[in-house]
Symmetry: C2
Subunit: 194 residues, 2 copies
């Protein structure tokens, strides 16, 4: 009897590193806080796990996240985000970033209202992100409740001309009060393989 | 490469039904809304999966849930709950209930503030539950993000003299606005095996 994770279908994404081939070429893997991840040349995103691939020595690491319900946005923010955000896979969005983060046990022991207060009222996570939409497409995957080494995997896609805007967005988030609760973060940059 | 769920340790609980033996004797399994679960005689709770047991024909079903961070309680409610609630395993608590529920896709597409409004402001989920503590001990396990057939598994333990109070609590919850978003519910009652 295997894990039921496969029941999640398209809600589940495997981020599989390889030195041989993949959908995206890894440009850099930089540890931001805490331990990094091993070097690799390519990354592929799939909704199902290929055990033959994963058991090979070609796979330095594999991460896995699940899309869940929203946690912090208000109804108004949710509607605004849904109206403005872009989907993944736009032809011009040849740049991508995968940013795995883990938050401290202190963060997870806070109540919902305390986390919302830090996330939005004090850190303006959503308000600061909205000006960068739809140029920067993003998808949030959760790892904490499926035993992953990181709590969140956010995947971003953008066109090369929006690379500077992406740096600004990442910099704003990292300087927020919310980020003082991040105890591990890795920054992976990628280019779409033609 | 196996699922990482085993990394969750004690946050993960397997609810394993058996017709042969177990920690708890199943008194009844009643479908409340939607499909029920197959009959079984015993139930055991474990933090690790025993594949030999699960593959045997002795196991009519197995459910699995993960303890996560709180989602709806305010800081004040959280502190009140922590101060008043009892732990599992009290010797006098020889009665138990496992209530698996699944909520509709409409519920999961609501924003956090809309769900909180239904959960507490309109349904008084926490306020209605607090008077029954510490007599009724409870532990909430999440299933939705690990591919389970139910979104939540709540495990309750209480002494026989608190059985009427437990019925009142369950009845209050089922008549709430929140419960109109429940599209599958099973009610399993148990007695501790001496």
């Amino acid at each position: 009897m295997k894990s039921n994770l496969s029941n999640l279908g398209d809600r589940l994404t495997y981020f599989t590193a390889s030195n041989h081939s993949g959908q995206w070429r890894i440009v850099s893997i930089k540890p931001v806080t805490g331990d990094g991840l091993d070097d690799a040349s390519y990354l592929s995103l799939n909704h199902h796990r290929d055990d033959d691939t994963v058991n090979s020595t070609e796979v330095p690491w594999q991460l896995c996240g699940v899309v869940s319900n929203t946690r912090y946005v208000t109804n108004e923010e949710k509607i605004e985000l849904e109206n403005i955000q872009a989907g993944l896979g736009r032809p011009q969005a040849t740049c991508a970033a995968l940013i795995p983060i883990r938050k401290t046990s202190t963060w997870w022991s806070l109540s919902q209202e305390e986390r919302r207060d830090i996330f939005e009222t004090k850190s303006h996570h959503t308000a600061n992100s909205i000006p960068f939409l739809p140029a920067i497409a993003r998808k949030l995957h959760h790892g904490r409740d499926i035993g992953e080494p990181f709590d969140f995997y956010t995947w971003f896609e953008y066109a090369p001309e929006d690379a500077a805007a992406f740096e600004t967005l990442v910099s704003k988030l990292r300087s927020s009060l919310e980020w003082t609760y991040v105890d591990r973060e890795v920054d992976i940059r990628l280019e779409r393989v033609e």
